[in-house]
């Protein structure tokens, strides 16, 4: 039996061969092909997707579990830690670009498409080219989502959750585990409250994904954001479980920081949503 003292952390840790990546690829292939079949209105696709999702979840548990064991086993030196920091930072950058393109679609339709359609009087006479619009061909009465009800409350909720997670981080750094746990639990609760209110808001909406460009941009932006909040809350819960399991030290806790970076990113996206999707309508 080898022990940790045996490990030479002078060297950059290169992990042993692993099955998890291949399993992850199989999971995504099942998810994608199942979705293709489901989109043909064949429910068999749903079963393929469920199988893919289960394999994906197994892979995530297995892979992250391995990384956590390696981390606790002391295999990661400072250079490995820096790699994880760069990696998470660039991952969030790619997410910024993903949302950037969706915001681009919103601005493009508001600033260019809708006014242009207003000029095509021969094609669509009498089209009132003002935002919010479902376009000239979708005859549907709808009321846009106002900013000062649930969205404003949700803004407060997410901003406070940004504060509580920072408070939890201070607790972790000062080795105050009670404050750490309380901060994390508060953050998760605020995240869950946000998602609950968002679902409630969707249920009261007078428009759908199909209500022209307004409905499309509204739901794709808020929907992807909501999915990110959900994922963030799940990751925070994993971190909370790890805190209860005694993981993380005041010096070494990058997993916590990575999730809090992600949480702050989701927070910033919400602020932009609040301003451009809800407020300046």
């Amino acid at each position: 039996m080898e022990t940790i003292e045996h490990v030479d952390t002078e060297r950059y840790y290169v992990p042993a061969p692993s099955w998890w990546p291949l399993i992850g690829s199989i999971a995504l292939l099942l998810l994608a092909s199942g979705f293709v079949v489901l989109l043909q209105n064949n429910t068999f696709g749903a079963y393929v997707m469920i199988a893919g999702a289960l394999i994906l979840v197994t892979m995530l548990f297995g892979w992250f579990g391995t990384v956590i064991r390696e981390s606790i086993g002391g295999l990661f030196n400072d250079q490995v830690d820096t790699s994880y920091r760069w990696g998470m930072g660039w991952f969030i950058f790619s997410e910024v670009m993903f949302f950037g393109a969706l915001f681009g679609a919103l601005f493009y339709s508001r600033i260019i498409t809708i006014p242009e359609l207003g000029d095509t009087d021969l094609l669509w006479p009498g089209f009132d080219a003002v935002w919010p619009s479902a376009g000239p061909g979708v005859k549907e009465a709808f009321a846009p989502m106002g900013a000062w009800g649930i969205p404003a409350i949700n803004t407060l909720i997410l901003l406070s959750s940004g504060a509580t997670i920072t408070w939890a981080h201070w607790g972790l750094k000062n080795n105050n585990r009670t404050q750490l746990k309380a901060g994390l639990i508060l953050t998760i609760l605020l995240g869950a409250l946000f998602i609950g209110l968002q679902i409630h808001e969707y249920s009261t909406a007078t428009f759908t994904f199909k209500t022209g460009i307004y409905g499309a941009t509204f739901y794709i932006l808020t929907g992807f954001h909501g999915a990110h909040v959900t994922l963030g809350a799940i990751m925070l819960s994993v971190i909370l479980a790890r805190v209860y399991a005694g993981h993380f030290t005041p010096e070494r806790h990058f997993a916590f920081e990575a999730v809090s970076w992600y949480w702050h990113f989701v927070d910033v996206v919400w602020l932009l949503l609040f301003v451009f999707v809800y407020w300046l309508v």
Partner: protein, 524 residues
């Protein structure tokens, strides 16, 4: 479990059998996987090109119905770009970057494995789509709505394949960028990195910026197809032109994603065989960065005929022309590197010189196409096809070939057969020009692309092009043979088979040890 992990961390030899490839965490093995995968895709997509050229051998419909012909052109483009060119460069990044910066491996070896094994998953979706009702996607590799919204289930498969390949690119880029920023041997400052490493750093940045945008675009296509949204449908206030804007915001950086690593390979090969250091290292770095930044400001030069305001057209025209400056800096630097060098013409150098000349032709035809009134005439003609094949085949693909010949001795420990390499070079270069140079003429004369039939006056050139393309395709089998022959044996290559080569990989044995640099090497 934990103890097994610790135990395995000490293994310093290749795992054997199928494990070595399926579960690899070794940058060289994963690089090999990338290169072989890309070569298989290259042959497949090249086969599609042969079918296209067979149909165009004579006017009139010969073998294929127009819909099938359009499937061939669409899949030829998608597979060449996402299956052949991009993975080949990632293969080079995997093999070379850790060795060039003095690292043991990539920063995230397991993610590295994942970014590779996502590609066969995506490719199987793409290839299977040929067997679906209605055949593969036929809307062009650019996936423009409304055509792409109207197609059958193979279009969904294409969309998901794009998602998975995008994920692979994003994971791969995070890995490469982190490796370069964090794994360099002490003393190797950013401005001392080999240019190949620099070009990949900037390429990875471009990938991280562009691929998520493509993912957004195809996601909106998917919701338009199946969930009743109106992103690209004017009836609901959407706009098909908006897709083109988003797509080309990805698409133009994408062309630099496919050429910057090629520039890096050239910048490694030309100094070696000129036996002189690279001329203008700093300006090379700045030019690469300038090209990358400008690449985000020129996308609408692909859309001069869709009806944009004149002011936008002028902006995109001038911004596009501006890219000629940093690109010109590079071409002059390579030329100046060769100036008064004691040059020898081994196969990698032959390819590199051919790329400098032929890529420059592609660059010039790009400048021609940047001019709005000219572009309006030439949009969707064979002139455009000629332009991007000069950039992508004689730019990117031939640089890949140059790089393979250059580093094969390091990778395999054997010298390749120089005579076969030279034959492959001349066949490729001549056949390439026979295939694609006449496309300039028939394009200027108005022959449209993506059409299986054509007017009689184009018959001679088309027959000539088809003959050229068959020779071009067949000569790649010689390439395959030469590479396999080199892997199986040949004269022993020393650690440094090229006397002019001086980056860190040449200080390792050929083939290199399992973990490239166990301890950080000294770097002056």
């Amino acid at each position: 479990m934990a103890t097994t992990t610790l135990h395995d961390a000490h293994h310093d030899a290749h795992p054997t059998g199928v494990m070595r490839w399926l579960t690899s965490t070794n940058h060289k093995d994963i690089g090999t996987l990338y290169l072989w995968f890309s070569f298989i895709m290259f042959l497949f997509a090249g086969g599609l090109a042969m079918l296209i050229r067979a149909e165009l051998f004579q006017p009139g419909l010969q073998f294929f119905q127009p819909n099938l012909f359009n499937q061939f052109t669409t899949m030829h483009g998608l597979i060449m770009i996402f299956g052949a060119i991009m993975p080949a460069f990632v293969g080079f990044a995997n093999w070379q970057i850790p060795m060039m910066i003095g690292a043991p491996d990539m920063a995230f070896p397991r993610l590295n494995n994942w970014s590779f094994w996502l590609l066969p998953a995506a490719a199987s979706l793409l290839l299977m789509s040929f067997l679906m009702p209605g055949g593969a996607a036929a809307g062009g590799w650019t996936m423009y709505p409304p055509l792409f919204i109207q197609g059958g289930m193979s279009y969904d498969m294409t969309i998901f394949a794009i998602h998975i390949m995008g994920l692979s690119s994003i994971i791969g880029s995070i890995n490469i960028i982190t490796t370069i920023l964090n794994m360099r041997t002490p003393g190797m400052t950013m401005m001392k990195m080999p240019i190949f490493v620099w070009t990949w750093l900037i390429t990875a940045f471009l990938l991280l910026s562009a691929m998520p945008v493509l993912a957004s675009a195809v996601t909106m296509l998917l919701t338009d197809r199946h969930f009743g949204t109106y992103f690209f449908n004017a009836a609901g206030g959407g706009d098909p032109v908006m897709f083109q804007h988003i797509f080309w915001f990805f698409g133009h950086p994408e062309v630099y994603i496919m050429i910057l690593p090629a520039f890096g390979i050239l910048s490694s090969i030309i100094p070696t065989f000129s036996r002189k250091p690279l001329f203008g290292y700093d300006s090379m770095v700045y030019a690469t960065a300038a090209i990358a930044l400008l690449s985000f400001l020129v996308w609408a030069h692909h859309m001069f005929t869709v009806g944009m305001p004149a002011a936008s057209q002028l902006f995109f025209m001038y911004a596009t022309m501006l890219i000629a400056i940093p690109t010109g800096v590079k071409v002059f630097n390579w030329t100046a590197t060769m100036w008064r060098g004691s040059i020898t013409f081994e196969t990698p150098m032959l390819f590199a010189i051919a790329v400098v000349c032929l890529f420059t032709i592609g660059g010039f035809s790009g400048l021609v196409l940047a001019i709005v009134p000219v572009d309006i005439q030439l949009q969707d003609t064979y002139y455009v096809v000629a332009h991007f094949h000069y950039v992508l085949f004689s730019g990117a693909a031939m640089s890949i070939m140059a790089g393979v010949y250059y580093w094969l001795p390091k990778w395999t420990g054997h010298m390749y057969d120089e005579r076969l390499g030279k034959i492959h070079f001349w066949l490729t270069t001549i056949a390439f020009n026979v295939t694609f140079f006449p496309m300039h003429f028939i394009g200027l004369a108005g022959m449209p692309r993506r059409i299986p039939d054509y007017a009689l006056q184009f018959a001679e050139f088309n027959m000539l092009q088809s003959i050229g393309s068959f020779v071009l395709g067949a000569s790649q089998l010689l390439f395959l043979y030469t590479v396999i022959k080199c892997i199986r044996g040949g004269a022993t290559a020393g650690d440094r088979p090229w006397e002019g080569a001086d980056s860190l990989e040449w200080t390792l044995t050929s083939p290199p040890p399992y973990h490239s640099f166990q301890t950080a090497p000294a770097f002056k």
